[in-house]
Symmetry: C2
Subunit: 130 residues, 2 copies
Amino acid sequence: MGITKTEVYTDEQNRLAGLCKVLGHPARIAILEKLLTTDCCSCRDFTAEIDLAQPTVSRHLRELKDAGLIAGTIEGTSVSYCIDRQRWSEVRAAINLFFDCSGPGAPLGLCVAEASVSPQPQPLRNRRCS
Amino acid sequence: MGITKTEVYTDEQNRLAGLCKVLGHPARIAILEKLLTTDCCSCRDFTAEIDLAQPTVSRHLRELKDAGLIAGTIEGTSVSYCIDRQRWSEVRAAINLFFDCSGPGAPLGLCVAEASVSPQPQPLRNRRCS
DNA sequence: GCAATTCATAGTAATATTGCTATATTTGCA
DNA sequence: TGCAAATATAGCAATATTACTATGAATTGC
């Protein structure tokens, strides 16, 4: 059906999956990769590098923004995007916890709960680049 | 179009995105969560827990198997699934490298290359649970 | 051999995703 | 004010994904 039965899972499972889903497109990986090494970029910069139409890049940026992974600051006619560093390490920690929750000591069903990420940790649009 | 222009990206970007995509569904998170804490489970076990039809669970298991994250061993009429631990830590390392490749010292475009995962590291079907 | 159990596959329908073109919006500047 | 540049949104078409029912294949136990 194309529709996911989210009501069947815990909030933590849905959130973690949602984050991974956002990372599950090479364009968004490429955008994040560039941002991780250059601090701030405009939509135009990405469009020049990625060989996608500008609206398509804009769409990917919005998904990253909605996930809280990046923030955009309006600067004149362009928008400067940057990684939300706090959210970034939060997500990294959550994913690490999920990956590490193996071994005999881990109580059943706790790993994803511990690896939870807050759903909307920041104002999502036009937050100032730090 | 629903189709991703994979030819526009590097192999590493496509592979990392592909892995995240597999993790981008709560049913697969739930399956992995259970496997991480109980070692081996059959398809029936998952079906009993997740409130999806058995063929739907089977499909999710196949995607995890195709990604190399889990392996299945036929045992009588059932199939015992388990985490592929080696692949698991390989993927974790790749994702960590991607998340960590920030900072001023990281050369542009290297983070995802370093975070690369081999495309098909194991025989994918019916590998023995370790 | 035959029924029961377990899992996988085929086929289908509905929704989601991707990427495009065209257009609106916003800002800067002459 | 009016034009140009940069980005976002609307709308569309094509493919992907999800989940179902029905069915097939493999194995066990009688």
